[in-house]
């Protein structure tokens, strides 16, 4: 009668999806934020495409990173505040697994659409169509890594009121390597050079995060809840 691990994971995923359906607007918000932030730059810097093209990879990446960061801020907070997380911690199930399932669902709902939107924004900033695969691929690997790193930070800062800035502070330095290699890959692709190096590095970081992240999350969460 006791549910297996797979069932538990499915339950968490089902719950997230239900919440997402009830608040579909909150699911599209990171996407729209991403679009809005990328449009800020041409306004603040210069409207000419030839100038924009040079900074486009960086701008898209920074915008994706901030969108991911903002949406992660409230990844666990509602659950902690209303006591659900306490119940999870007392459920006798591996907390790391529950948190990972929640994070992955969150990425599927918010990160993936962002990845699919990015090529269009890149084009609007003057990137050639040929870099689409690299842009999308690097962002897919990168935002997934960012989600896990962000989730660790969110778990750490969830006990702190007004934690969003603290979260940014903790997580941004960790995320810098992702940003650097991601933007580098797109930049290389723009100039028609080989991109395997940075992409492999991104993949390696993602695997590392997947392997160790969940334990860090659950440890951080237990500390936050005490």
């Amino acid at each position: 009668m006791e549910p297996g691990l797979l069932q538990i994971v499915m339950l968490v995923v089902a719950r997230e999806l239900r919440l997402a359906v009830r608040h579909w607007d909150q699911v599209v918000q990171p996407l729209i934020f991403f679009v809005v932030v990328t449009t800020l730059f041409p306004l603040a810097i210069s409207p000419s495409l030839s100038e924009l093209r040079n900074i486009a990879p960086g701008v898209v990446w920074v915008a994706a990173m901030l969108a991911s960061l903002l949406s992660l801020e409230s990844l666990f907070r509602p659950d902690v505040e209303d006591g659900t997380m306490e119940q999870w911690a007392l459920s006798g199930q591996p907390l790391a697994l529950l948190l990972l399932a929640k994070t992955v669902t969150h990425w599927l709902l918010t990160g993936l659409p962002l990845v699919m939107m990015a090529p269009w924004m890149g084009t609007a900033l003057g990137l050639p169509v040929s870099v689409w695969p690299v842009l999308a691929g690097s962002l897919a690997l990168g935002t997934a890594t960012l989600s896990i790193l962000g989730a660790i930070g969110a778990a750490l800062t969830v006990a702190v009121r007004r934690g969003s800035v603290l979260l940014a502070l903790l997580v941004l330095p960790l995320e810098m390597p992702v940003l650097i290699f991601g933007a580098r890959a797109v930049d290389l692709a723009t100039h028609g050079e080989a991109v395997a190096g940075p992409l492999n590095l991104l993949a390696a970081m993602l695997l590392l995060c997947l392997a160790l992240g969940p334990f860090a999350m659950s440890a951080a969460m237990r500390v936050s809840m005490e």
Partner: protein, 218 residues
């Protein structure tokens, strides 16, 4: 009406909880001083004491949510520290807050929280809600429930969890007179089925029950 025996599944028979020499400091205050007690299956222990005596702290300590400075907590003969997950699988905890998600309906809340522990059918869930007199609230989002209705949903979670040890912190907060009577009958049934209960409350619960004792904190 469903009986709890139907709802809560086979309870393990050696559900003994033993707490020995628990000490807890909060800030400068030495809150719990050498608290010891034992709780056998079928027993209810009610922690009483004035506001701020440390009832909530004791309950959270036993549940494993805060760590005591010193002292030992044993569950079925083994130290809690060493078999925490197994202990948690037999524990249902209800704190001062209800752990309901405001956006989800009562039924959904129960589905996702009870589902973590065991599979219950929709009928069982609805029967429990009916038993707690909130069948009509099943499909309302928790946000729009009244204080007492929320508390009842949280109690339904405990009942449905099938855990053998219930730790309830002032379970009857915000409940009306009917509600209290109803909760008491649920508690009595749980005891009868061999479960054990640790509660804190300012109003005596199951006062005349033969298996009900109380522990006073100062």
């Amino acid at each position: 009406m469903v009986t709890l025996a139907e709802v809560s599944h086979s309870l393990s028979t050696t559900a003994g909880l033993e707490v020995r020499g628990l000490h807890l400091w909060r800030g400068e205050r030495h809150l719990l001083r050498a608290v010891s007690f034992a709780l056998q299956p079928g027993e209810l222990l009610q922690v009483v004491g004035p506001n701020g005596a440390g009832k909530t702290s004791l309950l959270r300590c036993v549940a494993g949510l805060i760590e005591a400075e010193s002292g030992e907590i044993q569950w079925q003969g083994a130290a809690l520290r060493t078999n925490r997950d197994a202990f948690h699988r037999q524990l249902a905890y209800l704190g001062h807050i209800n752990a309901l998600k405001a956006e989800l309906t009562a039924l959904e809340n129960l589905r996702y929280s009870v589902g973590m522990r065991r599979q219950v059918s929709l009928e069982q869930t609805q029967a429990t809600l009916a038993r707690l007199q909130i069948a009509h609230c099943a499909d309302l989002p928790a946000r729009s429930l009244s204080a007492g209705q929320k508390r009842r949903v949280a109690l339904a979670r405990v009942i449905l969890s099938g855990a053998s040890l219930w730790i309830l912190d002032e379970p009857i907060t915000n409940l009306d007179v009917d509600g209290i009577a109803c909760v008491e009958s649920c508690l009595a049934e749980h005891l009868q089925g061999g479960g054990s209960i640790l509660t804190a409350a300012h109003q005596p619960l199951l006062e005349h029950h033969p298996q009900s004792r109380s522990l006073r904190l100062h």
